[in-house]
Symmetry: C2
Subunit: 326 residues, 2 copies
């Protein structure tokens, strides 16, 4: 049994707890929280501890799955926790990956542990799709589409606007762009041509709806570069129709082969997810298994999805995998 | 530079020759053929040798890419050639993979080389798609669809029928089956429900067309279990409309997550290929790079796509990959 711990019990932490149920060679032994442990209720029999007490449990856990946010939590939590355990996170600020890698690598090597970073679906499975398709079609173009799905960051940005009570933002790929890419035409696409943004907003009583809509549509970085629609709904409609956290998307690479580039190929990896956090958590648990095995094998330092022989992700034996999945 | 050799100069061998052009860290140094080398013309400056002379060139080649057939060539060629070189093949008789693995593993370990088997798209990239999706969605169902594309084995089977001059067989997924799978309904599908087979046949003068059509449609294993259409065409139409070797297909896994299996997810990996042999060859060259690196690192024995950290497939550095593809 691989003994897992969770640091941070939000949507992602609950997803990990559920994923453990689907992976019988793993068990969840501890949940660490920044809240008062006495106030936290969980869905399993794991022990609940304060996040200040990581060090005291260093011999009880094989891999700690860190479920914090990328903006401020993970840059501190991952290099700190890897002193005590093998760890894994889903750090997703693409531009800061090299710095995060360096920090975790140094701490992990000093402690003799493995620190996996940026594991999930993007970065994660989408990164693998990009890498595998790039090494096959060395001359070509990459396209990543996201959605239809809820962007938590964009939903939060709307909630910070004056007069907004609640909001949900869906990122939606533009069908014509997807079609042009799949046809192998190698189109050059602007931000606006690739995705639209649909916003569902519950306004506070008496709020200026025109002003809210305008503030959303002109918000730099988040919405200004997109065709954005804003729909005001009631609290009941929000609860009934927008409670889930679906997501998904496509990684597509088109490229040429042949002595004179005469043949075109399209590789597409596509996800359709009912629950973004539960899917991400399921990826994390598979890579936690690999982290445990790689560290047992003597490996240390920071690792990403690019460093893992796929067979290490599976609970099945290499013989079984060759006979049934190859 | 990684020095590559080719054993067998047919469609796949020519594909490898073209793929080397797209991978500037590799060079093609030799082509080995069972024909008289003086009669073989190739598209590059590689040397042409008799396939009997493999041993004499054991120090000139880092990885030999074996481009023979799975039925009778590869079971002999791969264990023999791995005595002299790191080798890689695209062995695709799924049922015999465990035996082929054992034979290659023994010979490769004795010689201190790496022997990659079953590299291409199925087995190969489709196997990876199956493995990655199985470790994430541990409870679910796998579906593999092939086509629309030319099946060489089925085309050959038609050519062996009396009165047939030439033939091309396309395997075609049934759209309704694909749709049902993508919707997450987990349908149970028979062979007939998944694929249809389209046959284009040039008959010899005076041949009994009704008899040919009947022989095709009732051929056990190949056609009897499918809805098959047979269209007779002229030699000119065959040349004009069916000269290429396109192929492709989908690996789809649907599965459940959550404490009570309440959420459904769909993972799909899809290929659309203008040239089956050129795409397969491009996969082979990427894994040849990994074979070279793994052997330099001290590894020996038989390997499959499941054993390769993806970063080893790329000519780029780990730092570049993390910064640009993660």
């Amino acid at each position: 049994m691989i003994r897992l711990g969770i640091l941070g019990y939000g949507n992602l932490g609950r997803g990990v707890e559920a994923a453990v149920k689907h992976n019988p060679d793993t068990e969840l032994v501890a949940v660490f929280t920044r809240r008062d442990p006495a106030t936290v209720k969980i869905n399993s029999n794991a022990k609940i501890y304060s996040s200040k007490d990581l060090a005291a449990h260093k011999d009880d856990i094989d891999v700690l799955i860190i479920c914090g946010g990328s903006a401020t939590d993970l840059p501190k939590q991952t290099p700190e926790a890897v002193k005590y355990f093998n760890v894994i996170d889903s750090f997703d600020t693409h531009a800061n990956i090299p710095q995060h890698f360096a920090n975790v690598d140094e701490a992990a090597k000093a402690a003799g542990h493995i620190g996996f970073i940026s594991v999930g679906w993007d970065p994660g499975m989408f990164s693998l799709a990009r890498l595998y398709s790039n090494v096959i079609l060395t001359e070509g173009a990459d396209y990543t589409f996201w959605g239809r799905g809820v962007s938590q960051g964009h939903s939060d940005a709307i909630r910070r606007i004056e007069g907004v009570k609640d909001a949900r933002q869906y990122t939606v790929p533009v069908p014509a762009a997807l079609e042009a890419v799949r046809s192998g035409k190698n189109p050059e696409l602007t931000t606006r041509e690739k995705h639209t943004r649909e916003c569902y907003v519950v306004a506070k009583e008496g709020a200026d709806l025109k002003k809210i809509e305008n503030e959303i549509k002109t918000m730099p970085n988040y919405f200004a570069d997109y065709d954005t629609t804003v729909t005001f709904i009631t609290e009941e409609e929000m609860k009934k129709n927008h409670a889930g956290l679906p997501h998904g998307g496509q990684v597509i690479r088109t490229g040429k082969t042949g002595m004179n580039n005469e043949n075109t190929h399209t590789i597409e990896y596509s996800l359709k997810l009912d629950s973004n956090p539960e899917f991400t958590a399921s990826v994390l648990v598979a890579f936690a298994r690999a982290a445990y095995r790689m560290n047992k094998d003597g490996q240390t330092g920071c690792k990403t999805v690019f460093d893992v022989p796929p067979a290490l992700l599976s609970a099945e034996t290499p013989e079984y995998l060759r006979a049934h999945l190859l």
